[in-house]
């Protein structure tokens, strides 16, 4: 009996479509969020994360519609975030059907936001997303999609976020993101050893071995990836089989015994 390590596909959503960000070169369409969510749900993803990467104000309503449509498709937990600045924003996302919310830039600007959300919705619903870069000053937290340094130390920020009520940390390595060179296991292990809450590793996943490494060396509770799943480079069942064969506890997709209602 063991808590399974989670595999989490991430959907970056812009104007109702799943996209892949290619730095300074626009966004590439990766598909329909409902279709992808339904596919991952049936393939045995342990959770989904939807991130609103639209900048515009009116994009907000479109994102909430997407959250609500995705909620109809899944019977696994899912997290939504991007642009959550106030209690009302979090409330809107949860009411649309998400189970958890992520906060990032707005929490760095005003850490009380984490406390407010946790008091209102419970720690289990609040995921602190942090984008981290290795600079001359050490592991530093960046905001605005990784564009701007916050001057905060990653370990100290993770600790503060958790003490304010964050129930999970979504840790993205900016150095590795989009590089296909594997998760940053050193960074992940450092944060995982610091905080008492689960850590979701993100950024750089490319091969099955990358996931194995982040669950062993990186001590991650969950591994997140986007494009390798969307483009069907890797299937979730194959990844889980690979991990299970190497002793990593994973939840194999299974159906109950006996006749199903469907």
């Amino acid at each position: 009996m063991t808590l399974a390590r989670r595999i989490i596909p991430c959907l970056d959503v812009d104007a109702g479509r799943v996209v892949k960000g290619v730095e300074f070169a626009g966004l590439r369409d990766m598909g329909d969020p409902e279709e992808l969510a339904a596919r991952y749900n049936s393939e045995g993803a342990d959770e989904l994360i939807l991130l609103d990467i639209t900048a515009s104000r009116d994009g907000r309503a479109t994102f909430l519609e997407t959250v609500s449509r995705v909620a109809q498709q899944v019977n696994i937990p899912f997290t939504a975030g991007g642009g959550i600045r106030r209690l009302q924003d979090g409330n809107a996302v949860l009411r649309a059907g998400a189970d958890k919310i992520t906060v990032n830039t707005a929490a760095v600007a005003r850490p009380e936001l984490i406390s407010e959300l946790a008091a209102q919705f419970g720690s289990q619903a609040v995921v602190l997303s942090m984008d981290v870069k290795n600079t001359h000053a050490g592991w530093e937290v960046f905001v605005r999609g990784g564009a701007e340094s916050s001057g905060r130390d990653a370990v100290a920020w993770a600790r503060e976020g958790v003490s304010r009520g964050a129930g999970e940390i979504l840790l993205t390595s900016i150095d590795r993101d989009g590089t296909c060179s594997g998760f940053d296991c050193e960074l992940t292990a450092k944060i995982a050893a610091t905080v008492p809450v689960p850590v979701i590793a993100s950024g750089g996943a490319n091969t099955f071995d990358d996931f194995l490494a982040v669950f062993t060396d990186g001590r991650a509770d969950a591994g997140l990836a986007a494009s390798i799943f969307h483009s069907a480079t890797h299937s979730i069942p194959a990844l889980k089989k690979f991990l299970a064969e190497r002793g990593v506890p994973v939840r194999m997709p299974m159906r109950p015994l006996g006749n199903s209602t469907r």
């Binding site: 808590l3 399974a4 019977n75 189970d99 720690s123 289990q124 939840r251 199903s260």
Partner: protein, 201 residues
Amino acid sequence: MKVSIIDYGAGNLPSVERALRSLGAETECVTSPGKIATARALILPGVGHFSAFVAGLRERNLAATLHDAIARGVPILGICLGLQAMFTASAEALGEQGLDLIHEVVQVLPTNVKSPHIGWNQLRRLRESVLLREISEDAYFYFAHSYAAAASEPHTAAACDHGFPFAAVVEQHNLMAVQFHPEKSGEVGSRVLRNFLEWAQ
């Protein structure tokens, strides 16, 4: 069959409703004592803080009617905080009174394990379980909580270990409850809800 989902203002109602409807059940969200009094089967969902739950029940005057319904034998399924609410009290809000259907106190998860306990975990069956019928022994269920009730006889049908063995499935006559989220536990969770519906019929 018709299932009444108790809405005390802090629940995860839409996903529970959707899961029940996908199994062919008719659902209604109830907020008043009158509706609870006539219910044929009840669901007590819940996320959030124990004190918000207690306050929600108090504001809506639901506790007494809920006690009557349970005493009459109406099947009830508590989910997550809905399980914890059936106990006398919780370390999350000492001084607040739970429904006191089970005379024990919900504890905080110890500091030697990650908390909240978030993710998919397996169960250890302590006895024959109605809710786990036709579900394989190694199935995983989705948990998201920081408090738990210690597994103990006679109420616990299945335990989960995270810091200490806690009650993951409670079955005591018509009172049933799960610490995990069946509505978020994929096909296996759907089977738990179906087992409840079939048994409540």
